[in-house]
Amino acid sequence: MTASNYFHHALYVDTTQCNGCVHCVRVCPTEAIRVKSGCAVIEADKCVDCGNCFRVCPVKAIKVEQDDLSAIFKYSVRVALIPAVFIGRFSQDIKIEAIYSALLKIGFTYVFEVEHGVGVVADGIRSYISGNPDIRPLISSYCPAVIRLIQVRYPSLTDHIIRVKPPVDVSALFCKKYFADQGNDPEQTGIFYVTPCAAKIAAFKSPVGESKSPLTGVINLDFLYNKVLATIYQDRDSVSTEFQSPSAAAIKWSLTRGEVSCSSVRALAVDGIHEVSDFLEKLEGGQIKGIDFLEMKACQEGCPGGILTAGNTFLTVENMERRSAMKSHNCSCQVSPLHYYQGFLSESVTLGPVEPRSGLKLDQDIEIAMAKLESLRKIELLLPGIDCSACGAPTCHSLAEDIVLDKGSISQCPFMDLLSLNRGQITAVDALDHAENVWTGRIKD
């Protein structure tokens, strides 16, 4: 299997719930969704797992796949690799010790925060930027939805992606090595990452720039949040657990500007998938100059805006900022748990090349593509141009594209059908049939 024909996606449509309302169709940044036979269909080649469809679905028909929590018990060493945003999700009257101890009660044998890996990553980014002076700007590899967006829509920018692994990989590599060095059987060590978004699940199941993810499994943040909160409420007198917080700067790494604030070059932070897309569009066109480092996160406010973080984004941001401020205030001179593994981790931090996967071409052959493009432009002139999505495609342009790619028909457009009806080219029964093809079961007499 190669990168171009296999992509695992963590988002899927529950066909029993979907009512074909096109909310998702209209917000997808890569125009990957169509409504067919009354149900949304996601095109695997174009989906980047950003989760925008999940956010807007009024009937919760977009689902995120979920690993079974009981899978952790297959291992004797069970590590919960939690991101700072997980702690940030809890209200400030819940002590961090209580969260750690609830995770242990649930069945994990060890809790480790992802952001301990930030130091190694930040060093890696710094030396990558100074070691590649000819490529500007360099783009952070932190957000897997952004990496996928670049692969699909901005393939000429793949070599701008910094080839340094994200903190979750560094922390997972550390845990693996640490527990092996303690005499544990690596086969019996399970490292489970608690994810705030679907893109990080996809990144685990089909990694980009790595042959295999160092993680054992992924657990959805919203699911574990509920479990932990229930455990805390059921047993208020939790045992206090010793834990070590990541550094003040590391706690904020997953927030918008978290990476930029650790950078000494001219750096810019962009968040929100559509804003990221607009920026990359201009960057690819040579319209943006003089920036050295770009931090890009698909969710607004960074990971607190992730679809599995589920709580109020701004409260989560404030919790994390406050925790970071308190950490820098009580600066105890703790040695980072990764300290003794610095050399090993610095050697393993390099990411392989990110391959382009263009999802925009009309045909492999340029002459056929040109002919298709000509007919696409003619069809576009016929269509009403109001982008109503009643055909099941996001815009009139995308319907025209579907038609030339033999994935759609002009009869999907209700305006065109009215015209044909008026001209006597089709009957009213034909028109109803056509509408039924898109809106199965929705048109009632």
Binding site: P155, G285, G286, Q287, S358, L362, D363, I366, M370, L373
Partner: protein
């Protein structure tokens, strides 16, 4: 295939829209991403030149299976000394234009660098015609 764009002098806010549109077209043709980038960058620089120096301009793009031809015709002051204008860093841009981040004197050299063929004919006082050709390798 032919594409036509109009450009208004002085409208920096919308400079780049024509080249962004061309970029989408070229991507749908499955051209090499490096070629797309070079073509779009050279057209963007040409667009900015018209916006910064001329009163108005037209861009005509002709895409053939083996070549992309871009012709930019403007009505403007023209370029009195072409050789000088091609030098890196040479600029006649007004301070106002420079304050907006344009006019660093890299436009024409950048176009030359990003195209396989480039030709300028200019009549001082009436306008400039620039031709850019990029080869499509298969």
């Amino acid at each position: 295939m032919d594409l036509d764009y109009n450009i208004e002098g002085g409208d920096f806010t919308h400079a780049g829209e024509a080249s962004s549109h061309l970029k989408k077209i070229l991507k749908s043709l499955n051209l090499d991403s490096g070629l797309i980038r070079r073509t779009v960058v050279s057209m963007y620089e040409a667009e900015v030149n018209v916006v910064a120096h001329a009163w108005s301009g037209d861009i005509h793009v002709n895409i053939r299976p083996d070549q992309i031809h871009i012709t930019i015709t403007d009505s403007g002051p023209g370029i009195p000394d072409l050789e000088l204008a091609m030098q890196k860093g040479y600029s006649t841009a007004s301070p106002a234009v420079r304050e907006m981040g344009f006019g660093a004197g890299m436009g024409l050299p950048n176009i030359k660098e990003n195209s396989d063929f480039m030709d300028i004919t200019s009549k001082p006082g009436s306008g400039t015609i620039m031709k850019i050709v990029n080869q499509i390798k298969r």
